[in-house]
């Protein structure tokens, strides 16, 4: 399908058309915290201020907390009931390429072996409309992680800024359907395509933070038992959950029950490998020391995930760097991994 274009001032119109069928989520900034929230039908000011969200879009698929099921006890014993299914379809408008790639990375875990019904049903019903970055942050390093700030790989439709308009690339069949149902779009001209190409190149070059991940798996493997290195790396970490909870590719979760006056609920909620209680068993804790937890965080993304899925679980969105209370910088850490010859053991 040929590419389309839309006037920036017609974005509200376009979103309202999609709103007939979808719950449209768009960048929103209540209380100063940017996140994907249900679009109000009017406000498109995010087109001016939006760079990326604080809360990653994974929250729409793996929410900070969700009901897994409810349970009740009566004379016959316990009864289990699934929460009312959330069949409504989500359209995420404006997802950045780094975060879209993160969704693809999360899919691997949730589809692998046992399927995760909660995540996958939301994922199946959702469409992602990407919006290319033209003003990336200082902390962004997507290009080092194999993601271009304007790439269309992991979305259904991709928008690229071409001045007063957006060029719309139709990426998937879902995207095709979206376009088919939308009016007011024009065919993109050769000139538009050229402009988009230019935007993409300019944006790409705006990413200045670089990280060399060549051979990172081997490097980390060789340094895994280098306690001194990990202790030094972890020294300033305060073991909070910001970098993990707000990471678009982190998915670890906790499961907890609550029983209130005979009505029970089992919740799933975000959890972090940075917390000491995360691995705590009654008698022992394999990751009691801070450096072990920091090592787990780094290695899970850059060593274990590649070993299992052949892809690094980091997209260079830079949230962990921007939001860290102590400016613990993953790019610096990875660059300081000692180069060791010979494989461990």
């Amino acid at each position: 399908m040929a590419n389309k274009k839309v006037n920036k001032k017609d974005i509200a119109k376009l979103l309202n058309q999609w709103r007939q069928q979808f719950t449209v989520l768009a960048p929103s900034k209540e209380n100063g915290v940017a996140q994907m929230a249900e679009w109000d039908g009017k406000d498109t000011s995010f087109l001016d201020w939006y760079r990326n969200t604080v809360i990653p879009p994974k929250a729409s698929f793996l929410p900070p907390m969700e009901e897994m099921f409810r349970f009740q006890k009566d004379k016959e014993g316990y009864h289990i009931e699934l929460p009312p299914t959330n069949e409504h379809k989500q359209l995420i408008f404006g997802i950045r390429p780094c975060d879209a790639r993160a969704m693809t990375i999360l899919d691997m875990t949730f589809e692998e072996a046992y399927q995760d019904p909660y995540y996958l049903s939301r994922r199946k019903n959702a469409v992602l409309v990407g919006l290319g970055c033209t003003n990336p942050c200082e902390s962004c390093f997507c290009t080092s992680m194999g993601v271009s700030p304007t790439e269309s790989t992991n979305v259904d439709l991709m928008l690229t800024d071409i001045g007063d308009q957006f060029l719309i690339e139709v990426v998937t069949d879902k995207g095709k359907e979206l376009i088919a149902k939308a009016s007011g779009l024009k065919e993109a001209t050769k000139d538009d395509e050229a402009k988009a190409k230019e935007t993409k190149e300019t944006s790409y070059n705006k990413i200045t933070r670089k990280l060399d991940t060549e051979g990172i798996v081997d490097k980390l493997q060789a340094s895994f038992d280098d306690e001194g290195f990990w202790e030094q790396t972890a020294a300033k970490c305060i073991s909070c959950g910001i970098c993990t909870l707000l990471c678009p590719t982190c998915y670890c979760f906790d499961i907890n029950d609550e029983l209130v006056r005979g009505e029970g609920t089992r919740f799933r909620s975000w959890d972090s490998c940075g917390f000491p209680v995360y691995t705590k068993m009654p008698m022992e804790n394999p990751r009691l020391e801070k450096w072990r937890r920091v090592r787990q965080k780094v290695c899970h993304k850059f060593e274990f995930y590649p070993m299992t899925f052949n892809v690094i679980a980091c997209t260079g969105c830079g949230r962990c760097i921007r939001l860290c209370p102590v400016n613990w910088d993953i790019t610096q850490v990875l660059e300081s991994v000692p180069v060791k010859t010979g494989v461990r053991k």
Binding site: N31, C240, L245, I321
Partner: protein
């Protein structure tokens, strides 16, 4: 000041007077610094003092083994004193390198002032009572009070009282409580229902990352009540009721140890105005018990001490 700090730090390590130096080094983003925790005397040359040394380094003291030379602004020094009072830190094991602090620049305020994100700014410099912000090649000048952290505006102790080495000239305190206390005053103007709703709203954004707790030097418990499972006091899910319960009890638990360093509010990734809780508690403790955390090394900790007659009005 920076040069002196580097020399002193290096000398302390060289002479074996300390095992560790904790200070600040340049961060990886514009206008940031990052804690430097080192045993290596060569690292001393990386130490900096500038208007962006945000962290309260006292937070690291209880977990570090050995003797420590620590860079401390006034507020940090109060946290250190508080830790000494609580027997979490031994006075003889710390060498306090005191920084007379003219206030730290709150980049969020700068962003709001100029309508740009911090990484879009060319430069932010302080010159006396002014701050000069360069954006798109243009210079803008503001009174520095417009960009300092609220807790800095309220600062009662710019220069540490308790120190071993003083870096630079002491600065007298000049708290501006009117400006720094505006948020709390506004809140007090609301009805109780509105206030409760306000806090419920604010805490509904909490993701339970516990950065506020972990960055707090007063929160040094090995195991926090939120992590207890027998009984489970608070559900470990980010739901506003449980978030609020956590935050209320955390505030009560650090009453008398909170020095109003403002770190909890600064680090909150979802902008919960936590200082409007901590500062009110700080003032309340002062009003009821005439106690200010970390001001007097000899004072007994607030909750281990009492007067015969105090705060009795509501007892039946």
């Amino acid at each position: 000041m920076e040069q002196k700090l580097r020399q002193e730090a290096k000398a302390l390590l060289e002479q074996g007077k300390v095992d560790w130096i904790i200070g600040f080094e340049p961060g990886s983003l514009k206008f940031t610094t990052t804690p430097l925790i080192t045993k290596d005397k060569n690292d001393a040359d990386r130490l900096v003092i500038n208007p962006f040394i945000v962290n309260n380094l006292a937070d690291f003291l209880p977990e570090i083994k050995g003797r420590v030379g620590i860079v401390a602004k006034g507020c940090d020094s109060r946290s250190i004193v508080s830790l000494i009072q609580d027997n979490k830190v031994v006075r003889e094991d710390v060498v306090i390198l005191a920084v007379p602090c003219p206030g730290i620049i709150d980049l969020s305020k700068v962003e709001r002032l100029v309508g740009k994100d911090r990484d879009e700014l060319d430069d932010v410099t302080r010159e006396g009572d002014k701050v000069i912000i360069k954006v798109n090649g243009k210079k803008k000048e503001f009174p520095v009070t417009e960009v300092l952290f609220d807790h800095c505006l309220a600062c009662e102790l710019p220069t540490p009282q308790e120190y071993d080495i003083l870096l630079g000239e002491p600065r007298p305190p000049a708290p501006n409580l009117e400006v720094s206390g505006k948020d709390i005053e506004n809140l007090k103007g609301l009805t109780p229902e509105q206030r409760w709703e306000f806090w419920g709203n604010e805490l509904s954004r909490c993701i339970r990352c516990y950065a506020c707790r972990n960055v707090c030097p007063a929160c040094y418990c090995q195991r926090c009540f939120v992590e207890e499972t027998e009984p489970q006091w608070v559900m470990p899910v980010p739901r506003w009721q449980d978030n609020l319960l956590f935050q209320i009890v955390r505030n009560i638990h650090v009453a008398g140890r909170c020095t109003d360093c403002g770190e909890c509010e600064r680090v909150c990734p979802v902008n919960i105005p936590l200082r409007s809780l901590t500062r009110e508690m700080y003032d309340m403790v002062d009003e009821l018990f005439h106690f200010k955390a970390g001001m007097d090394k000899e004072a007994l900790p607030l909750m281990t001490h009492y007067e015969q007659e105090e705060a009795e009005d509501f007892f039946r």
